[in-house]
Symmetry: C2
C-alpha cells in the first residue's frame, strides 16, 4: 500500500482502461480520447480554458514545459519557495538562463503572506511567478487568493503547481484567474506515473503566441502540443485521419492516456467536491491519531496543512528509517521520508486517490503506531 507522497496505488478501473488495445495516435478515435481528457482537465481545474491538454512525461515535464513556453531568455522569473518544488522551479529557470528571483519562507512549514508577495512583484516586475499550491516535501498549502490581480497589474503571469493539491484541496482556476496550472497522473488521480497535464488561460496563450524568440525545446513546446491536440482555433474540429492540418509533435503514451481519461471520468462521477471532502476527512482522522501519538506536525497551523500529505517531525529518540523499513517489511506499507534539506528529520504520510478511504487510513494509523512503539521499546 503506497501511503506516501506519490506515486500512489493505481485504481483497478484505470488499469482496465490501460489494458485496452492500442490504437494509432492519429486515429480519429484517439482524438476523441484527447477531447474527453481535455474536458476532464477543464473540470478538475474548474476552468473553461481551451488549452487544456496532457503531456507524455512526469509532472516535472509539465513544470518545465510551462516555464520555458511562457518565458524568454533574460526575463525575470519570480519563484516562491516554500519547499522542494519551488527550489526545482528556480533550478529550471536558472538552467534556461532566466533572471531568477527567489522568495523564501523563514522555516520549513511556513507560508507566504500576501503582503510579501505583493511587494516582491512590484519590486522585481517579473514576467512569470511560480507558486506551488501544495508542496509535497513539507505538506504545506499556500493560499492563492488575490495573487492573480497583483500579478496581472504588473505584467506578470501566475503559474500554479497543483501536482499534489489537485482533487485534495479546493482549486478554482477561473475564479482565481490563474494563467497556467499543471498536475500529474500519479497523485490523487491514481493513474500510473508517466503523463501530466496543464491548462493555460487565454492570456497565457496570447503570451506564448507573441513570443519574440522560439521556445528553446521541441518536446516541451506547448504551442506545438496544442496543435497536435487540435486545440488551436484554426484547426479545431477540422481533424480527420491524415488530415493535412494535423501537426505531428510526438507519439503520446496512448495507454496511459486511456488511464487518465478513465480517472478523470471517475472524478466527474463522484463529483470534484466529494473527492476533495473524502481526502479532507481522511486527513482529519489521521491528524487526530497523530496528535494522540504525541507527534508534532511540520506545519503548525492546521489551515496551512495539505490534506493529503502530512509531514511529521521524527522524535529525537527514534530512528526514522527503521520505522519506514518496519512498515514496509511487516505491513507492506510504504511511507515517505523527507525530500531535500530536512530529509532525515521527517516522515511524510500520504493518502492519495484510491488510498483516501477510512479503511486504508485506519490501517496506516494502526501500523504506524505499532511500528513506532516497537522502535521505542528497542531503544
Amino acid at each position: 500500500m503506497l501511503m506516501n507522497a506519490g506515486p500512489t496505488n493505481v485504481s483497478p478501473r484505470v488499469m482496465d482502461a490501460i489494458n485496452q488495445p492500442l490504437i494509432h495516435f492519429m486515429d480519429p478515435k484517439f482524438l476523441e480520447v484527447l477531447r474527453e481528457i481535455s474536458a476532464g482537465i477543464r473540470y478538475v481545474f474548474q476552468t473553461r480554458n481551451q488549452y487544456s491538454m496532457a503531456l507524455t512525461g512526469s509532472g516535472n515535464c509539465a513544470m518545465e514545459a510551462a516555464i520555458c513556453s511562457l518565458l524568454e531568455t533574460g526575463h525575470t522569473f519570480l519563484v516562491l519557495v516554500h519547499g522542494f518544488w519551488g527550489e526545482r522551479a528556480a533550478l529550471i529557470g536558472r538552467k534556461h538562463g532566466y533572471n531568477v528571483v527567489e522568495l523564501r519562507v523563514q522555516r520549513p512549514g511556513h507560508l507566504f503572506g500576501f503582503k510579501r508577495i505583493d511587494e516582491a512583484i512590484k519590486a522585481h516586475k517579473p514576467r512569470l511567478m511560480y507558486v506551488c499550491h501544495g508542496d509535497s516535501s513539507v505538506g504545506t498549502l499556500q493560499p492563492l487568493e488575490n495573487l492573480a490581480n497583483v500579478c496581472h497589474e504588473n505584467g506578470c503571469l501566475l503559474l500554479v503547481d497543483a501536482v499534489i493539491s489537485l482533487c485534495c484541496a479546493p482549486l478554482n482556476v477561473d475564479q482565481l484567474v490563474i494563467d497556467a496550472v499543471f498536475s500529474g497522473s500519479q497523485k490523487a488521480l491514481s493513474v500510473p506515473p508517466g503523463v501530466s497535464f496543464i491548462s493555460l488561460s487565454p492570456r497565457a496563450v496570447e503570451r506564448m503566441k507573441s513570443r519574440k524568440t522560439e521556445i528553446v525545446s521541441l518536446y516541451l513546446d506547448l504551442i506545438l502540443l496544442a496543435k497536435a491536440w487540435c486545440l488551436d482555433s484554426d484547426n479545431h474540429y477540422k481533424y480527420n485521419m491524415y488530415n493535412y492540418k494535423y501537426v505531428y509533435h510526438y507519439t503520446p503514451a496512448v495507454q496511459l492516456m486511456y488511464g487518465l481519461r478513465e480517472s478523470l471520468a471517475m472524478v466527474v462521477e463522484e463529483g470534484l467536491q466529494n473527492v476533495i471532502e473524502r481526502h479532507q476527512k481522511c486527513s482529519l482522522f489521521v491528524q487526530k491519531e497523530i496528535t494522540s501519538l504525541g507527534l508534532q506536525f511540520l506545519v503548525q497551523k492546521p489551515e496551512h496543512r495539505l490534506s493529503a500529505l502530512l509531514a511529521l517531525w521524527i522524535p529525537d529518540h527514534i530512528d526514522g528509517q527503521k520505522v519506514i523499513n518496519d512498515l514496509c517489511n511487516s505491513y507492506g506499507i510504504t511511507i515517505s521520508g523527507g525530500l531535500g534539506a530536512i530529509s532525515h528529520q521527517i516522515w511524510r504520510l500520504g493518502f492519495l486517490g484510491v488510498n483516501a478511504n477510512p479503511q486504508n487510513v485506519n490501517t496506516l494509523c494502526k501500523a504506524f503506531s505499532e511500528a513506532i512503539n516497537r522502535q521505542k521499546n528497542r531503544e
Copy 2:
C-alpha cells in the same frame, strides 16, 4: 492490426508485465528493474556502455535529450537529412540556438555516400553529427560504417537515431564506435508508447561532464538521469531506499518500465540476430508481393531499404487515402500515409515487433491487394 510506421501492436507478455502492481520508484526492487533494463539496452545495442538508460517520454524526448546534453550554445551541429527525422533533429538544433548545418539528399529515397559526409565533417568541424539509421518517413537505411572514425578525427561525436531500425537491421554500437544512440518503445519492441532509451559512450559521457555551460533543460538533462539510475561510478551499487546518494530527477513511468524490461527480456530469449532475421524475412515476402502488384518502391535499391518499413509510391490513378480507409474499415488494418513533404504521394507498410510474422504480413498483403483492386475498379 497496426501495420504502420508505429506504434505497433503490444505484445501480450508485455501487457501482463505492465499489469504488475505499482511500486515506489525509490524502492530497491525498482532499482533492480532499472538495472535489468540497462542490461537489456546494452544487449540490443550491442554495447558495453555504462550509461544505458530509459527516459519517460517518446523517442523525440530521447532525441532532444541527446542533442541538448551533448551540445552547447553556438556549437556546430551537422545533421544528415534523408527524411523527416533529420528535419526534426535540425529543428531541435535551431530551437536550441546551435549552428545547424544540414546535409540533404537529392531526392527522397536516396542516401549519403561516405565521401560527402567525410567532406562535410572536414569542412564544418561540427561538435556533433546526427544521422538517422532507418528513416521511417521514407523507408531508407543509411549505412553507418566508417563514420565514427572521421567524426572522432575531427573532434565530432556521432549520434545515431535507431528508433525504427533497432532489432530490424544489424546495429553493433561498439563495433561502429557510436557515441550516442537512442530508440523508442513502440517500434520493434512492441511496448506501448511513452518511454524511450539511450546509450552513451564513455567519450560522450566525458563530453557531457566537461561542459562549460549547464544543460538547458532539467527534464532532458542526461547527467541527472544517469544519477537517478545510479549509473555514475560514484554512486554505482551504493543505492538503497532513501540513500542520501540517490538523486531525484523525476518520477519515471513505472508500469511502462516493467513493459520495457519484459520486451528486452524477450529479445534476449529469442536472440537479437533471430529477431532481425524475422523482420528481414517478412520484408522480403512483402517486397515480393508488392512487386507482383506492379507497385514502385520509394527506395529503389533493395539494399538501402529499411526491412521493417516499406514506402511505396501511390499510382497516379488511385486515391491513396481511400485505400487506407478501406483497409481500416474492411479489415481493421492500419497502414501509414506519408509524413512531411511527400505525405500525399506514398503509402508506408510496417511490420514491427509482434506483427513481424508470416501470418500477419500475409494478411496485410492480401488485404492490401484487395483494397487496391477495389479502388481500381471504382475509378
